[in-house]
Symmetry: C2
Subunit: 432 residues, 2 copies
Amino acid sequence: MSTTIIVNGIFVTANEADTIVHGCMVFEDDQITYIGEKAPLPLEQYDHVIDGSRKLYMPGLVNTHGHAAMSLLRGYGDDLALQIWLEEKMWPMEAKFTSEDVYWGTSLSVLEMIKSGTTSFVDMYDHMDQVADVVRQSGIRGSLTRGVIGLCPADIQEHKLQEAIRFARDWNGEADGRITTMIAPHAPYTCPPDYIERFVQAAHDLDLPIHTHMSETAREVQANVEQYGARPVEHLEKLGVFTRPTLVAHGVHLTDEEIATLARYDVRVSHNPGSNLKLASGIARVVDLMKAGVKVSLGTDSSASNNNLDMFEEMRLAALIHKGVSGDPVAVPARTALRMGTAIGAESIWLPHTGVLEAGRKADFIAINIDQPHFFPRTDMISHIVYSAAGQDVSDMCVNGRWVMKERSVLTLDEERIQHEFSRRFEALVAR
Amino acid sequence: MSTTIIVNGIFVTANEADTIVHGCMVFEDDQITYIGEKAPLPLEQYDHVIDGSRKLYMPGLVNTHGHAAMSLLRGYGDDLALQIWLEEKMWPMEAKFTSEDVYWGTSLSVLEMIKSGTTSFVDMYDHMDQVADVVRQSGIRGSLTRGVIGLCPADIQEHKLQEAIRFARDWNGEADGRITTMIAPHAPYTCPPDYIERFVQAAHDLDLPIHTHMSETAREVQANVEQYGARPVEHLEKLGVFTRPTLVAHGVHLTDEEIATLARYDVRVSHNPGSNLKLASGIARVVDLMKAGVKVSLGTDSSASNNNLDMFEEMRLAALIHKGVSGDPVAVPARTALRMGTAIGAESIWLPHTGVLEAGRKADFIAINIDQPHFFPRTDMISHIVYSAAGQDVSDMCVNGRWVMKERSVLTLDEERIQHEFSRRFEALVAR
């Protein structure tokens, strides 16, 4: 057993009471065992003593929706109308992605996530064995799923479904439990109803949650009504999706009735403010969702539509845009935004043993270098985290009790090699 | 004369053609003399040769509205309704500010601005001699003005006006021209009409521009109509304000007619998206203003309502929110946002010799460390600057041909001392 104590730190716990502790935190192996003002034992009795002066510790950020490999398409065809962007830029390039592209694209994204404080992320993509392999090496947590588009012949549908099942079964619980899996029909508008039902059955068979895109644009909602005679929430409910624990991404265009349905089934919503703004999809009804009791967490979506993976920015956008749009300056306070990015994120992807700094939880945390002008004065540190900080302020990261980054140096991945190989893959991709 | 050449760099010029040069930039004393692919002379003929590999160079950012000393109130009473925030938090604290508070509050903000890439900033506040002194030391540019609230007896009004005139006259053109001044009645709702007219006269006498807050909230517009029978634009027009070159802050609530009036007089608008969102003031009609030909630049407002001074964030917000709110994914493209934060900002505060990297302009520029995952792949660097970067990515700054920061070490100000003295002043302020 290895014991570590951090002394002289400021610990923003992100618990429901918004507790901030000035003092010490102890973790033994992968678990936090103490947090409080005074060290429980003389310091010489710990294997490692860390001076936390000039740092703020908080739970690692939880990114509940994304497609990591799409870093290869960052800045490729920005500021275009949505359909042109998708049809002329994204899809032709993605069709050319190889396993190796996905491996290096995901590696760059995981590096970026580590350097900006994300300790757990959701990834929905293809070539998922590559993604799982990167997560295994990286030291952080991944909630991974093969996202399946079902607009294809029956034999290809069958092949994709089996691949999704095989991946989810093989990798769930791997890497000391850092990898968990989900089942992901891509979206109601990209999967026929009977195909979605087969994913529901698979999720039941494997006892896994479901992740899907839902109601991102007004256009797709309208198409759903025209094609299936129901809006997406009712459509998915009828197909049995919500009989499984479910996380939906976006949920921008929702009626009161749909919000009530999501709350009744405890369906979780990943709010992606940066991506929704950039793609002009609209402003999600986050305040109404939360009032109804829906767990709303935060996601970056891919860096093709964001264009970074900095979760501090998503917390800030969540805290800012709903004030500006509603005219209510107390909509989504900083405290709420912080919990959306940490504790609620962890709950939303079924990692309740992470997301808060308290005894009994996993040692998943980050340190922020607050010895910088934008963290003065030492008034409201939660406000500073949400309204002032950026991912670049993160100095250290520990996941599952193991150090992943120290003083901005990543210990688990080779930064220089990843940037080099990524660039090579990108050049080859464009040339193909 | 001293000559410097930067080689192997990427130069984002921010000119109207969005030119990006891979190569060299030369500056002699305070002026850029060359930018192009090849070095004009053998390298040994330059006094200084700088290797710009792994860096991106761009014009320094121009922050066209703020109140630097209010860093002392960062995070003090966030997430409150506007009137409670103002009446119970901001005003009682500001009333206690001394010259020394303003000195150290401004010092911290200028430090933060340097570390996030701002080379020129507008400041409207009180105790302005202190602010000017900080700008003089810092090496960056300040467009400074004593902001006057006129809701007071005639003798105090007179005293404040004379102070504003004296400051504007004494400091204009000081610090090698890095300090310029303006005349600033605080706002139509805080200055009686006849008092505003006296500021207009003073601006004529001194041949200086006018800076004022205008139409930030719907409530103040309504009050203006009730009190003066006109919306703020017509009101200020009648008072002769626009007979002077004018920069207004916010301009959130504007009619088509008001936009046309602003365009006719070439009134410049400082758009403050972060502050407008946080205070729930609304969404400015930026796209319509620009279509009408109004110069729209960017400002942070104070760190009490933002809560940082990172202009990269303002560029990103400007590029994101107008897409999300309008439903148009091509509203405010990255190119436009970049120019709002640089070239248009410089024009808007009458510094046309800055804001663009080109021969003949002042050597006001910053370097960004692009050797980080969020700047890969090397596709569209303007997109990366606007959608991916943060102030913390700025490595170096040069203003008026002199280095202000190298590898994130500020050369002109004592960072540790400022943070220390600032904290002391804050504690004393809270205790008073």
